[in-house]
């Protein structure tokens, strides 16, 4: 894929930023008990100019809004209402903010920036982060892109702020593929749809003619593995976002489902059912002969690779009820890791490698939880009648899932690892089976 955004930090950094001894820092593990007050005034412009996406002053306001919304959605920041600001930001203030004015509105951190049009019609968004009390600059980054992609530049700015203040990588410049749902329970119409992580730039990928389920991003985010009931033969397909082409994977005799890419994007793990027995297989994305990884009698499904590709977590009812198991990528050394009450399903390995998210069923509820990869340290993050199908943010700090209600309605939600910051993701229709992309390039 063409690199749409190039980081221009090198050009913008006049001096090498040295982290201060007493750093402004957000404790990511503390939840939202005290989100950091942060000011994100409208980005300014060195020269008012028009673009296909609006003029640079309007873009500057919108970029600041996107940055502000991203930071607020993390639950770790509390953007200050711009109506409280005691000062406006001129272009000269971007690099030399009037800090006392920001201290009066109790901002701890300040984000300033600008939008400018370049000679080739592209725009550059400059993004600066300051510690209001120490008056130090903490981050400065620039992003160049076509004007139509201004939201991505804003997300990258928010990622830079989040990253600098939490010590974690960001997750805002990413996308969600999911199943858009509409219609009654008995005649549900399902379509693949894709959108930005914040719900913007929504578009449908399939027309609803065929039932589609469980889309999953490839590591390159350019293809999506999913299951389709096309021709009444439920099988795994790959959708190419660039071309819109849907390709059947392999030529399998039976129902194949629950696909997920390997970390190198070269192969898929999935389930295939045969005669009432479901096992896990691995196959090249180009097809070929599938390699069988499990053979226990029962239902083995929901495979998900560890980020280093060495292990696979999956669910199996071989012991009587659905539980989580981990095996080596070649299928050897299968070990059960879940031992709590109820049933465990849909395990997904965190991109950080440290945790496994899952659906736990029991006591009349479906809940989203996480545990360490050896099964220890289990924590439930949600409590609901129908939470299912977790997917990780690219930085492994947020889990998105779908929440079903009695009667068939369903929508997308996210929750952070503290379990406190639970938010609904806006979608035009109902939604299920979300999959979070890696960070965009």
């Amino acid at each position: 894929m063409k690199r749409l955004i190039s980081v221009l930090s090198a050009l913008l950094i006049a001096i090498v930023a040295t982290p201060a001894a007493a750093q402004l820092r957000v404790d990511i593990n503390a939840g939202i008990s005290k989100p950091m007050p942060i000011a994100v005034p409208a980005f300014t412009t060195p020269a008012l100019a028009s673009t296909v996406a609006g003029d640079t002053a309007a873009l500057g306001r919108q970029v600041a809004e996107v940055v502000s919304n991203d930071l607020a959605s993390s639950g770790l920041f509390k953007p200050i209402n711009p109506s409280a600001f005691t000062t406006t930001v001129a272009y000269a203030d971007v690099l030399a903010p009037r800090f006392p004015n920001w201290r009066t509105v109790a901002a701890q951190a300040l984000v300033t920036g600008f939008v400018q049009v370049n000679g080739d019609g592209s725009i550059t968004v400059g993004c600066y982060l300051y510690d209001v009390f120490s008056e130090e600059i903490l981050a400065r980054e620039g992003f160049s892109t076509q004007p139509a992609f201004w939201r991505r530049a804003a997300h990258k700015c928010a990622d830079a702020v989040y990253s600098r203040l939490t010590g974690e990588s960001g997750y805002f410049d990413s996308r969600i593929v999911y199943v858009s749902e509409t219609g009654s329970q008995t005649k549900r119409i399902k379509r693949l749809a894709i959108m930005d992580q914040d719900g913007a730039n929504h578009r449908f990928l399939t027309n609803g003619q065929n039932l589609v389920l469980t889309p999953r991003f490839s590591p390159s985010q350019q293809t999506i593995a999913y299951m389709s009931f096309a021709q009444n033969r439920p099988r795994v397909y790959i959708y190419n976002i660039g071309t819109g082409r849907q390709t059947l994977v392999g030529n399998l005799p039976n129902m194949s489902f629950a696909p997920r890419f390997s970390p190198d994007g070269q192969s898929l793990v999935f389930s295939m059912a045969q005669g009432g027995n479901t096992d896990i297989y691995r196959m090249s994305v180009n097809g070929g002969t599938p390699q069988r990884l499990t053979s226990a009698p029962g239902i083995d499904t929901g495979p998900s690779y560890s980020p280093d590709g060495s292990k696979i977590v999956f669910e199996s009812d071989r012991g009587g009820t659905q539980q989580l198991y981990v095996m080596n990528a070649d299928g050897s050394d299968q070990r059960r890791i879940s031992f709590g009450g109820g049933r465990y399903a849909t395990p997904v390995w965190s991109p950080r490698g440290d945790l496994i998210a899952f659906t736990r069923m029991g006591g009349g509820g479906f809940r989203i939880g996480v545990m360490r990869t050896d099964g220890s340290g289990e924590r439930l993050l949600t409590d609901s009648w129908g939470d299912e199908g977790p997917t990780w943010s690219p930085n492994g700090r947020v889990v998105m899932f779908f929440r079903s209600q009695r009667g068939g309605r369903a929508d997308l939600w996210s929750v952070d690892l503290t379990g406190v910051n639970e938010r609904r993701i806006p979608t035009p229709l109902d939604g299920s089976d979300p999959a979070w992309s890696p960070l965009l390039p």
């Binding site: 039932l211 489902f257 059912a273 005669g275 479901t278 929901g302 849909t346 069923m361 299920s432």
Partner: protein, 177 residues
């Protein structure tokens, strides 16, 4: 409305007649009404109802008692009622050996999506194996699972779930009326 209008017309006619008769007392009585003309009897149009013909889907359902069997939660065991239904289905299929079937396996909504796909396939295979055991050639039976994607009835309670945990025998190549 019609009746009221008709009555009004008749009353008006009677009044008119009365008024008339008073004035024309000396005239001879009017001739008796003409005898009704006889018309040939036409029986009412007989409704044509569809009827179950041998070999049809309806015949299959009538003979077997049902085209579907139901399962307990997270189970693919066939209870005695299901076995009785399937035995009758197999009997019908023995009669119509040109008919193939697809067994559709379904689950209720109280399971995760991927597992329910596998569970539906398991249920469909339970039925397939039973029918095969009753002498239906295995190559006449195909299976498909819809997991929890195609419930038969709406609702999120025990009664809806019980009806949705099912395997349906769908005839392929039989006359559907």
């Amino acid at each position: 409305m019609m009746n009221t209008a008709l009555k009004a017309a008749m009353v008006a006619a009677l009044v008119a007649t009365a008024a008339c008769s008073k004035k024309k007392e000396e005239l001879p009585p009017p001739p008796p009404p003409a005898a009704p003309v006889e018309t040939p009897y036409t029986p009412p149009a007989a409704p044509v109802t569809s009827t179950v013909v041998p070999g049809s889907v309806e015949d299959f359902i009538q003979q077997a008692g049902s085209d579907r069997v139901f399962f307990e939660f997270d189970s693919y065991q066939l209870d005695s009622a299901s076995q009785a239904t399937l035995t009758k289905q197999a009997g019908w299929l023995a009669q119509y050996s040109n008919v193939k079937v697809t067994i559709e396996g379904h689950a209720d909504e109280r399971g995760t999506r991927e597992y329910n796909l596998a569970l539906g396939e398991r249920r469909a295979n339970s039925v397939k194996n039973f029918l095969a055991g009753q002498g239906v050639a295995a190559d006449r039976i195909s299976v498909i699972s819809y997991g929890k994607e195609r419930p038969a009835v709406e609702g999120s309670d025990e009664s809806a779930w019980a009806q949705n945990r099912r395997a349906v025998t769908v005839l392929v190549g039989a006359a559907a009326s």
